[in-house]
């Protein structure tokens, strides 16, 4: 029941907003819908926490410790993003970058996107997971091109084509998976359920599953933004409206990684080896290095943080690939911390570029004096994202590094180089933006306080003290992903 509310609220909100999304109170409806979704998510989480995993809807949905934490995270970040987008989009609209139709479209697609992500997380069916992932892509494609500038359209087209190709390959992987499963579980929908598949994973044909994993890896890996398939990501993040960059970076990448990790567990179970893990480690480390060195060259603020997302997704993928309790724990925590931090950074970066009417970092200056919230928010976010204590990312990266030194010591230097370069690159760029005197062309604006502060406080809390229920969740998830 809770689950139904959780899914249907965003869906119906999407339908309603498709008609009235340009009214004055539409942002409030958007926020309201997201709040209800979040509350339902919390409620569901409590249920899972108290009574254990749930399988419902004729085995169509299932919730366990792994996906429930992502459900809560997704609904939370989409709620704060909806709050942020109220002021942000009003500003955009006042400056004539979006029209009536654009607003309707924006609100409807935002909710549809949330629906697609929640569906992807909650479904028990590998095929439906694919459909939801595709739906999530499709609903954001036209949001990326919302401003209709040449670069925005280029970015959206790239996003559409690359992710379309990627996701098509993932479907081929899913077909292969079904092929292997059908031999054990018989024909029909039963053979595509995660719950069934995980039970029989050791009986599945290893050769077919290895092949399937290659396709799934390339397919979902494109959506995670792993190098060398990451080209769409910086463009889509930098050209779309900032709330969309925030949810793309904070949520969509996580969902794709979620799909990948589920597949990896299955494949490792079937092959009895660690091959899938090695593939993921390889993709992860390449992404970290490529992203880190690309960070050095960035001029556009949102583009830079998009590369940072690639880097962090690389770290999480690497951690899951490494396996083992510590690394997996670190990976889960990293997904959470990165998601919260990165969306808050995008909030502040969006405001910063609104204040200066540009996304070029050379022209953004004196943020701290111009608007303390934006300035402090950006610098604290940057401190958190580069992995400085006491924020949550420090903890997760520390865990991952420890596990790397133990299980794959040769990878440690590469990982450290990546982290170090990223640290230097981001810090060097952020500091001039925040410090200094206020330039003449800077405009003042009313920033959204709540989302930024909320996110940063949460990241800080995770870094300082891991709440008991959270660590229990993670431990359970680690058990599932063993």
């Amino acid at each position: 029941m809770t689950l139904l509310i959780l899914l249907s609220v965003s869906f119906f909100a999407a339908v309603i907003l498709a008609f009235i999304g340009d009214r004055k109170f539409a942002p409030e409806i958007n926020i309201l819908g997201s709040i209800v979704t979040f509350l339902a998510g919390i409620f569901l989480a409590v249920q899972v926490y108290m009574y254990g995993p749930i399988i419902t809807g004729g085995k169509f949905f299932f919730v366990d410790a792994f996906n429930i934490y992502l459900v809560v995270l997704t609904s939370f970040v989409s709620m704060t993003t909806a709050m942020f987008s109220r002021r942000y989009m009003r500003h955009e609209r006042e400056h004539g970058r979006v029209g009536h139709r654009g607003m309707r479209f924006y609100h409807a697609m935002f909710q549809l996107f949330i629906f697609a992500m929640l569906l992807a997380l909650l479904t028990n069916n590998v095929g439906v997971l694919w459909i939801a992932m595709e739906l999530a892509t499709l609903s954001t494609v036209l949001l990326v091109s919302l401003y209709q500038t040449p670069t925005a359209i280029e970015a959206a087209w790239k996003y559409f084509i690359l992710c379309g190709v990627g996701i098509a390959l993932a479907l081929f992987g899913t077909v292969l998976l079904y092929f292997a499963a059908e031999r054990i579980l018989g024909e029909g929908g039963e053979a595509l359920l995660w719950t069934n598949l995980n039970q029989v994973s050791d009986k599945l044909e290893p050769t077919v599953l290895s092949l399937a994993f290659v396709f799934l890896m390339v397919g979902y890996g494109t959506k995670v933004g792993l190098a060398p398939l990451h080209n769409w990501l910086p463009d889509a993040h930098s050209e779309g409206p900032t709330p969309i960059s925030a949810v793309l970076s904070g949520l969509l990448l996580n969902i794709a990684l979620y799909a990948l990790v589920r597949c990896k567990v299955l494949v490792d179970g079937a092959t009895g080896t660690h091959r899938a893990g090695y593939i993921m480690m390889g993709f992860g480390i390449i992404s970290i290095l490529i992203a880190a060195f690309s960070l050095l060259r960035q001029k556009d603020i949102k583009r830079m943080f998009a590369y940072s997302s690639i880097e962090h997704m690389g770290i999480a993928t690497f951690a899951f690939g490494l396996g083992g309790p510590i690394a997996t724990f670190g990976g889960l925590m990293h997904m959470l911390a990165h998601s919260l931090t990165k969306s808050s950074i995008f909030f502040t970066a969006g405001h910063a570029s609104q204040m200066h009417s540009t996304q070029e970092m050379d022209r953004i200056k004196g943020l701290r004096r111009g608007n303390p919230l934006v300035g402090w928010g950006l610098i604290l976010g940057a401190i958190a994202i580069v992995g400085m204590p006491p924020f949550g990312i420090f903890m997760s990266e520390f865990l991952i590094l420890t596990a790397t030194m133990k299980d794959a010591p040769l990878m440690t230097p590469l990982l450290l180089i990546g982290l170090g370069v990223a640290f230097a690159a981001i810090f060097r760029k952020v500091q001039p933006m925040v410090a200094g005197i206020v330039p003449s062309y800077q405009k003042s604006l009313k920033a959204s306080h709540i989302p930024v502060i909320l996110h940063l406080v949460l990241v800080l809390i995770i870094g300082l003290y891991m709440p008991d229920f959270l660590s229990q969740w993670f431990h359970k998830a680690v058990e599932i992903l063993k």
């Binding site: 069916n125 095929g127 439906v128 694919w130 459909i131 595709e134 739906l135 499709l138 494609v141 036209l142 091109s145 209709q148 500038t149 040449p150 670069t151 359209i153 280029e154 970015a155 959206a156 087209w157 790239k158 559409f160 084509i161 379309g164 190709v165 098509a168 390959l169 479907l171 081929f172 899913t174 077909v175 292969l176 079904y178 092929f179 059908e182 031999r183 024909e187 029909g188 929908g189 053979a191 595509l192 044909e205 050769t207 077919v208 092949l211 910086p234 463009d235 930098s238 050209e239 690309s294 060259r297 001029k299």
Partner: protein, 219 residues
């Protein structure tokens, strides 16, 4: 091999042929026709497999393919290219022989890649799975080599055809809910690229995607 399986492999061969046709065809209209033919062959093949295996939901899948890939999508594309006034456009930048050779290499690669499945499977359609993967790969190649937005989309849709074909030949079709969902996604995608064509058209000077090269890492 019984007759139905033979007809099925003829259909597979025709699908492969249409894939190559799409790969090297320069004219917009002809491309559209070849694409519709590919859908038709796919639909027939699905129906035959449904008949042979007695899997009735394949009939639904076959009708779905017929409606979506043979009638609806070509019709939408037809309307689009007439509205965009590009139905007479001819792409001149294709290097036919090289593309063909790469295509042939891809077919061999797909054959090699799918050999474990062929050995494990007991279905009569097991031999066509290599063709299915080849269709996916050729669609991918088409998306890489072509520079026109509409042809790239046709490549994308042809990839989807390959995926449907893969599902049919490897497992007698995915569960119905998945096939319907995939069909729905393709339909949504069709509307999206329709909107896209107009956006690209109004913002850029025509539908050549090579013009879209501003977003790069500058040094």
């Amino acid at each position: 091999m019984n007759l139905a399986a033979q007809i099925n492999s003829v259909m597979a061969a025709l699908i492969l042929l249409t894939s190559f046709g799409l790969l090297v065809q320069r004219r917009m209209y002809a491309l559209l026709h070849i694409f519709a033919w590919q859908g038709l062959f796919l639909s027939i093949s699905t129906a035959i497999v449904g008949y042979v295996s007695g899997t009735h939901h394949l009939y639904i899948s076959s009708v779905l393919t017929l409606v979506l890939k043979v009638i609806l999508l070509p019709y939408i594309l037809h309307i689009l290219i007439i509205r965009l006034q590009i139905h007479k456009e001819v792409e001149t930048t294709i290097n036919v022989p090289t593309t063909m050779l790469i295509g042939i290499a891809l077919v061999i690669f797909s054959y090699h890649l799918t050999s474990p499945i062929r050995e494990l499977s007991t279905l009569v359609t097991r031999s066509t799975i290599a063709v299915a993967l080849a269709t996916v790969m050729l669609g991918l190649l088409m998306m890489i080599t072509r520079k026109h937005a509409v042809t790239q989309i046709i490549g994308f849709l042809s990839m989807e055809n390959g995926l449907f074909f893969a599902a049919t030949s490897a497992t007698y079709g995915m569960p119905l809910v998945v096939e319907l969902g995939v069909g729905l996604d393709i339909l949504i995608a069709a509307f999206i690229f329709g909107i896209f064509f107009f956006q690209i058209r109004t913002t850029f000077d025509g539908l050549d995607v090579d013009q879209m090269a501003k977003l790069k890492e500058e040094d």
